[in-house]
């Protein structure tokens, strides 16, 4: 019961914090902007990819549809979503230390571990809300504007047409994996927040780590081959596997295990550091 009370406090603080609304505003802006762009120029944009087929084939059906728009919007997960998540979760601990409220929080009976876990959970909940908001805008609003039809899914080697009836459960799976990926980002920002004493550095550091790891993952160099399977950024786009045919279950499970391991390690490190930390401000 004590933990539930502390968690309730953390949820209230996280939801009511002004910066928490920034994420929703940005997601809404990007979604609506891209939807408007595709509404006006979608065919030209798509012809960049479908053009190489149109020499010999005609594509029938509604290629530009809500499912495709949602899929494209999910691609932005790698870019703006980690920043928006880190913006809030990177502030959960260090922000309170910098503001001075942490010393009042820690003079309550609840243990530091419970307080930290409650903060982490509040951050994860915020991540879930933000992702759900993206899901509603990306999927349901896109379908309302563009209709729903089969999805053309492209990877570097094959184009797959996934039937519309098959989309809902794939999207559920994709969002589930995306949530796990963003939870890693939230946990990383949260961990850095326990190490640092101001709220900007954890946010910037989280983004720097994501960018560096993404760059390492992009290049087919022998030196990077050893690292790539263990980088969480390599697995952050595993949600795309939900749109392969057949779905590579082993790959997805492997990615989920790696992501989950990151969460456990980072959270464990956060708990250790926070319990030992001197609160001097």
């Amino acid at each position: 019961m004590e933990f539930v009370r502390i968690l309730k406090n953390e949820l209230i603080k996280t939801i009511k914090k002004p910066r928490s609304f920034i994420g929703f505003g940005v997601v809404a802006f990007i979604c609506l902007l891209l939807q408007a762009a595709f509404y006006n120029d979608g065919k030209e944009i798509l012809s960049f990819v479908t053009g190489q087929l149109e020499n010999s084939l005609t594509i029938e059906g509604q290629v530009l549809n809500g499912n495709l728009i949602c899929f494209i919007l999910l691609q932005t997960l790698i870019i703006q979503m980690p920043l928006l998540v880190a913006l809030v979760t990177g502030d959960l601990v260090s922000g309170e230390i910098a503001n001075g409220t942490m010393r009042f929080l820690l003079t309550r009976p609840a243990s530091r571990s419970k307080i930290l876990l409650a903060k982490w959970l509040a951050g994860v909940f915020y991540t879930l809300l933000l992702l759900a908001f993206l899901g509603v805008l990306a999927l349901f609003v896109s379908r309302a504007i563009f209709g729903a039809d089969d999805l053309i899914h492209i990877n570097s080697e094959v184009l797959t047409v996934i039937q519309a009836d098959d989309m809902n459960w794939r999207f559920v799976g994709a969002f589930g994996i995306a949530f796990l990926s963003l939870t890693v980002v939230a946990t990383l920002a949260h961990f850095l927040s326990t190490v640092m004493d101001n709220s900007i550095t954890p946010i910037v550091s989280t983004m720097a780590i994501i960018i560096i790891f993404t760059i390492i993952g992009m290049f087919d160099l022998p030196s990077f081959d050893i690292l790539q399977p263990f980088l969480f950024t390599t697995h952050m786009i595993s949600w795309k596997d939900m749109f392969e045919d057949p779905i590579p279950k082993a790959d997805i499970i492997n990615s989920c295990v790696i992501l989950f391991a990151h969460i456990v390690l980072l959270l464990g490190a956060s708990l250790y550091i926070f319990n030992k930390k001197d609160i001097n401000s």
Partner: protein, 304 residues
Amino acid sequence: MPNAIEVKNITKKFGDFVAVNNLSFVVPEGQIFGFLGPNGSGKSTTLRMLLALITPTQGEIYYGDKELRSNRKEIMSQIGCIIEKPDFYTYLSAHDNLKLFARASDVSFTATDYKTVYELVGLKGRENDKVKTYSHGMKQRLGLAQALLHDPSIILLDEPNTGLDPKGIIELRELLIKLNKEQGKTILFSSHILSEVEELCDSLVVINEGKAVANGSVSDLLSNEDLLVDIEVENATECLQLLEGTEWKQYIKDSSGQTIRFNLAKEKISKLNQYLIENNIPLIASSYRKRLEDYFLRITQNKD
């Protein structure tokens, strides 16, 4: 009488810097205890160690017979505190802030209870305003409210008078007396207003450079202290000539203009005044400085 707090040989090092050095003192239960020290003496560090915000490098802290690190949860449920300036979630109202702290302390308050608290600390009518609109004094009052929320048996206050107007200072003093005398709460109270400390505290500790330099009841510590007494006369030269060769000469410290300064025990002031009047030295005024101030300055500047 059991001890509310017992600090045993605590030391805190930050790298090579020793902030607190083998400090020991006790806070008797049911007393108002003064905790004094100049800026940078290790006062804040000690208070934070008392609240488990900082871990001592060495030593132990006991609340009653319970060691702090092993019994933190039980102990913290009995402590209310203000450490440095009270900080709150400025994007929330005062009432929302207090509800957060109440929930964290597992205290269930009714609307009437909250109303009573706001009246007690002088924030009635402002409880629904966002804290970012509060003045420093109002935040101090809110800080007091959150310290008292859960009816703690021990209250630690770090300069609670800061930012309060004269009325607020008087109200705080009366509140602390009430909490101590009527409810038996132990109060550890640090302040730079030494007159308040001398008036309120039963005992005190003075720390300097991380070490205790004085510790005991106020009356015991100040019993042997002379006062600095300023006598203002119409003709200081005439007065000095009168006192030359008398027993009073040994107590003269210095003179300036029409004022002569003496180091005197309190009970001798009236006798000096009477002597001067009997010898036709017109007195304009007679006053003495707070003893604790002098004592404090002396021991923290290593004067004897």
